[in-house]
């Protein structure tokens, strides 16, 4: 019998058994989903973004379904980094799945606080820096929308932590390679993209926005082509940098698009809401594709989209 293809990947020096991970905010810390999913089959759990203090999140309605997607303004409701360290992380460690901790804040100081709390945390193999947060020190502009703000957050977190850092980028910018470059110059080892696409929906009967937060982030298959293009752009600019690609991946065919565009790993987000088992199905589908195509090593497919010139 032929040897089964190797699904394991090297992500900024971390060995993961599968290229399939969860997208932050779309899997909580894995406990609820573990009723449906064998967490041992996925590469890593990227947990919901944690902040210095608990955040209450935004009022409701927090979500509006739009064609092939959903618009949300949750407001990063979470119990804070201390709760993560004392409750969620020990549980994840007992399960034995690698953890990528996602951190967020409204000031550089808040990011530093969370990063320092995470220093040496067992089982945390990498940290993803969610810089799609309003920057209170810059008129609420998102950190990820400005190369300078991106640089300052990443540099500060870099000083606090030794594990590989992934900067999670927003697609709502003119030049993704410029922001990615700023993150990489300041100590990020990898790039996660994309975060949600900013959007808005209005109830024409009441004249009110459908979200209490007025505007929100669009996710789901509606944004997939934007995400594939984003991965392609960043991979072309930085071909040696690991990329976690995400945005509307519903099945393994979608995931393979990201890998051919240049993703090292793929993250499943909104699809977890619809089918809690999407991660393992994508994992199995990629394996099947590799068998059919006679590909032994996933890394050999990365960025191999056939583009002239």
């Amino acid at each position: 019998m032929a040897k089964s293809p190797d699904l394991s990947i090297d992500l900024a020096g971390i060995r993961l058994r599968s290229p399939v991970v969860t997208a932050s905010g779309c899997f909580a810390s894995g406990k609820e989903a573990s009723e449906f999913v064998d967490l041992k089959k996925i590469g890593a759990v990227v947990v919901k973004s944690m902040t210095m203090e608990p955040w209450p999140g935004k009022p409701t309605p927090r979500m509006a379904e739009t064609p092939s997607g959903m618009l949300n303004a949750i407001g990063l409701q979470n119990y804070g980094v201390e709760h993560f360290l004392t409750v969620d992380l020990p549980w994840l460690n007992r399960v034995g799945v690698p953890v990528i901790a996602s951190i967020a804040g409204n000031t550089v100081q808040e990011y530093i606080y969370v990063a320092e709390m995470l220093r040496g945390a067992p089982g945390v193999v990498a940290v993803e820096v969610n810089i799609s947060c309003p920057n209170l020190e810059d008129r609420n502009n998102m950190f990820a929308h400005d190369a300078k703000a991106t640089s300052s957050v990443i540099a500060a977190v870099r000083r606090a932590l030794e594990v590989p850092l992934f900067a999670k980028l927003s697609p709502n910018v003119t030049s993704l390679p410029e922001i990615a470059g700023a993150a990489l110059d300041n100590g990020a080892q990898g790039i996660s993209l994309i975060n949600t696409v900013m959007g808005m929906a209005i109830d024409i009967q009441t004249g009110q926005p459908k979200l209490a937060g007025v505007v929100g982030g669009l996710s789901g298959p509606a944004i997939r082509p934007i995400a594939v293009r984003s991965v392609f752009d960043v991979f072309r600019a930085f071909p040696h940098v690991p990329i976690i690609g995400m945005g509307g991946i519903m099945n393994s065919n979608d995931a393979l698009e990201f890998i051919l565009a240049g993703a090292t790993a793929v993250a499943i987000g909104t699809a977890n809401f619809i089918d809690p088992n999407t991660t393992t199905k994508v994992n199995d589908g990629i394996l099947q594709y590799m068998k059919e195509k006679g590909v032994n090593n996933l890394a050999s497919m990365r960025g191999r989209v056939k583009v002239e010139g």
């Binding site: 909580a28 927090r62 379904e65 997607g69 949300n72 937060g213 809401f273 809690p276 088992n277």
Partner: protein, 281 residues
């Protein structure tokens, strides 16, 4: 909570506005309790990707074929319209049973069930369980108009008292459920109130219950992203135990049944950002 592919046993239109699906789902039926819900994925459609949550209307563990559950819904948009197109033998992807069910206190024997429009759905299964436990069950259904009263024939059958109110007076008492509640609580010697319906009704029923010192359990509706506790879409404003702080609590796995006294009803009205979730689709 499990996810399974389940077969539709039958489809039925109830009165003018409601649809009933009977679903063969033995594992879900086996453990489902009143107040819990199932989350159904609309048939393959590119536009509507999220599941829709539905209260469990009835459970039949000794069906002709296998155990079934029933859900009732109205059409609110494309997703529910797609569900209304399902027929016998079609397969659906279903997750359930989900959420905290109604509590059935041992020492309270006289139960009033208050249902607003389609909100009466989970109270049918509850009534059956309460009757099985030897409790007195009284029924108070309210709706805009007669055609929106859910299955009044069955309600009359299991209610020691069965009172209906319609805002247009087309059936029963003209007015709202809250107009007749004071009298009904006295007459029935009510010891616990169970309510499901629009938020405004649940708030008013909770306040009347508090006035009479009768506990009120409310089953709340919310827009949901995932329906199993991960997305934080469906939160309700709930007072903490010391009643000095409002926290956002998930409807799906921490509800949908809440102690009415713990819901921060004023948060819906006083905070301009907080609005009752609009009808789903």
């Amino acid at each position: 909570m499990i996810q399974q592919q389940a077969q539709i046993l039958s489809y039925k239109k109830l009165r003018d506005d409601y649809f009933l699906l009977t679903i063969v789902a033995p594992e879900i039926a086996e453990t489902a309790k009143p107040g819990q819900f199932v989350n159904i994925r609309p048939p393959a459609d590119r536009q509507f990707i999220l599941r829709r949550p539905f209260s469990i209307y009835k459970v039949n563990r000794r069906g002709e074929w296998a155990a079934t559950i029933e859900v009732v819904f109205d059409i609110r948009g494309g997703g529910t319209a797609a569900l209304a197109s399902l027929r016998a033998h079609d397969m659906i992807d279903i997750v359930g049973p989900i959420g905290r069910p109604f509590a059935i206190p041992k020492n309270r024997n006289s139960c009033l069930l208050v249902g607003g429009g389609i909100g009466a759905v989970p109270l049918f299964y509850l009534a059956e369980e309460l009757k099985g436990a030897g409790k007195r069950v009284d029924v108070l259904w309210g709706a805009q108009t007669a055609s929106k009263l859910l299955n009044p024939i069955d309600a009359k059958r299991f209610g020691a008292q069965a009172v209906f109110t319609t805002e247009d007076g087309s059936e029963g008492v003209k007015g709202r459920v809250t107009d007749v509640m004071d009298d009904l609580l006295e007459k029935c010697g009510t010891e616990v109130i169970y309510a499901c319906g629009p938020n405004g009704m649940l708030e008013a029923v909770t306040r009347i219950g508090q006035k009479h010192r009768i506990p009120v359990q409310v089953a709340m509706e919310a827009l949901m992203g995932c329906g199993y506790g991960i997305c934080m879409t469906c939160v309700q404003p709930v007072w903490n135990k010391s009643h000095d702080q409002i926290v956002h609590v998930r409807t799906c796995v921490d509800g949908p049944v809440f102690n009415g006294a713990r819901i921060a009803w004023d948060a819906f009205a006083s905070d301009p950002g907080v609005r009752v979730a609009p009808a789903g689709n």
